[in-house]
Symmetry: C3
């Protein structure tokens, strides 16, 4: 079974996702799966960081249809990428920063789009048909030509030194957890962050107040048990975090 996994900033109250799913259902037999439609409007960064920890868990052959597209209707390109046997269809605006590597095609075959499409809803008129074609077995090389270089988000990877590490808060989740990009396994010392308590192995073992924990992506997170670290520490996405020996 081939899956098409959908990620948008459309919400579900408006009929946009519903129309996109209709195009997919009309054009292929893939199973449709909602990843999220709650990306903040136009927030390409949030979408890019959503895909990164998710894609590897899906089976090969999955097509990720990711539409956060403030440039809809402009000349920004439509990308079809393959990475580790999985496929990605998205606008060329940085959304694929963390998942596109091996092969990226700029889609040029307009015959695949819906006829008489709009200038404001390429998700339905262009992206969905491309995703359906790939799900149906079409090779991405046949859709256009090599797109590289593609647009990539500004992003400074974490730096690791023997006595400290510096990284970024890349996401704040619904529980208020501050998720950094600092990999716990790269740190050779007991970590400490100013204003934050010790390190806990699980939420249940956590002290009162903010503490450090290794999250589900292997990176350091700042949490508050049964509370919001973001609210307690007044920190948000993009903030820098320095880890020093405890």
């Amino acid at each position: 079974m081939i899956h098409i996994a959908l990620l948008t900033d459309f919400g579900t109250r408006d009929p946009y996702v519903a129309a996109m799913k209709g195009v997919l259902a009309s054009r292929c037999d893939a199973a449709l799966a909602d990843l999220t439609h709650e990306i903040a409007p136009f927030d390409v960064w949030e979408a890019a960081w959503f895909l990164r920890p998710v894609a590897p868990y899906w089976p090969e052959g999955t097509v990720f249809l990711a539409v956060v597209d403030p440039g809809v209707g402009t000349s920004r390109r439509i990308l079809a990428a393959e990475e580790n046997g999985r496929f990605f269809v998205a606008p060329d605006n940085g959304l694929l920063t963390f998942v596109a590597g091996e092969r990226v095609i700029a889609v040029e075959d307009e015959s695949i789009f819906l006829p008489d499409g709009s200038n404001t809803f390429h998700g339905r008129d262009r992206f969905a048909p491309v995703a359906a074609a790939i799900a149906g077995g079409q090779r991405i090389e046949t859709l256009g030509r090599d797109a590289r270089p593609i647009v990539r988000l500004d992003y400074t990877p974490p730096r690791y030194a023997s006595d400290h590490a510096e990284g970024t808060i890349v996401r704040v989740d619904r529980f208020g957890n501050l998720i950094t990009d600092i990999e716990r396994a790269r740190i050779g010392f007991g970590p400490h962050v100013d204003g934050v308590g010790g390190e806990a192995r699980t939420y249940a073992e956590a002290p009162d107040g903010p503490f450090l924990i290794t999250g589900s992506t292997g990176c350091i997170e700042i949490s508050v048990r049964n509370g919001s670290a973001a609210a307690v520490l007044h920190l948000r996405r993009g903030g820098c975090v320095t880890v020093r020996p405890a």
Copy 2:
């Protein structure tokens, strides 16, 4: 593959959609697709306008199960309709105003309902079994008799003249776009709306402040780039819009 596409005002926090899906899964092999469950409670108009731009994109054979049903438990009828090869199951309260035409049946065969059903949740006890039966191949004529006339929402279609057009704001989407029912292709002049700037082809080309754009249904929309036209203009659903030559 047959699809059942669900539209309700139930939200997903309560167990209502979950129970409906269970009935569908118990009674047929169709693929279940969420259109939306975020219709405002009891807002039949919103539901009716949701279906209109969505249904044509789904494949023939799709069954739309649409439950916004303030009259649940009363004698309001249960409709099963066919239009262009697609099927619709909904209460007779105007929900099918824009999609039911050719054939509409008032369901009378109660043997198809769940036994010992409730008076408060016909979505689970009656509508879902009807949708499952149709998805399984039952012809709608066998479910009851011709329902026409059905309840239709009060709605004045737009009027087009050589020097102006009048229409209605039929929806405000999550981005604050004001979506009218005035088809751009029916207007023979460069359009202007009082208090709104010029016409843009794409969001990227838009001026500051409110502007006109042709939306994904081919109708004129009033938008603000990276903002909410509804908030800026203090307009909402049901408002009249007059388009004159620029």
Copy 3:
């Protein structure tokens, strides 16, 4: 077709559900269905009461994957249960209070988990693989040993006497309906609740102000037509309700 029905408190804005679905799609061919991801964070009671009126409507063979797991990473056990031909995978924290009976296994076969899993996301690393295995036909007895007794929520069932009945508000739904656990069919008299008007058969027949109605689970609910009984009466979940003869 086998269904896996998902219930979590993760919301859909974060990538947690998306990763769980990926694991399921990678490990079995079941159809994935969202029940809800909007359980209030850590609210095991809400999740337990969600499952109760939903599970019976799903076909035999369905696997319910229910993850509300404040004790993630601790020694709380992972349960795999069977009841009336349906399967349930959940933490041993009371979530299965109302659905687990006949057979409950504490999962001990760690070979089934994802390798190198985290301490903070067992939904992805442990629960999803167990659910996928069961959906693929693995017998739950092969996963571990008899788990009884399991953790059960404190809950006093309603009491029925000839001249009154006492129960609990077990849920407040999005419409503000106050849903009790008092079964209408167990009451031999015309019911009355202090501060609440008469009993109505349907919402359409309801008087102004709060009234009693038999809800979709056969239990007494307090509703306000086109309004919120919870807001009008200042009542919430856990409140006691006494029903006396009218």
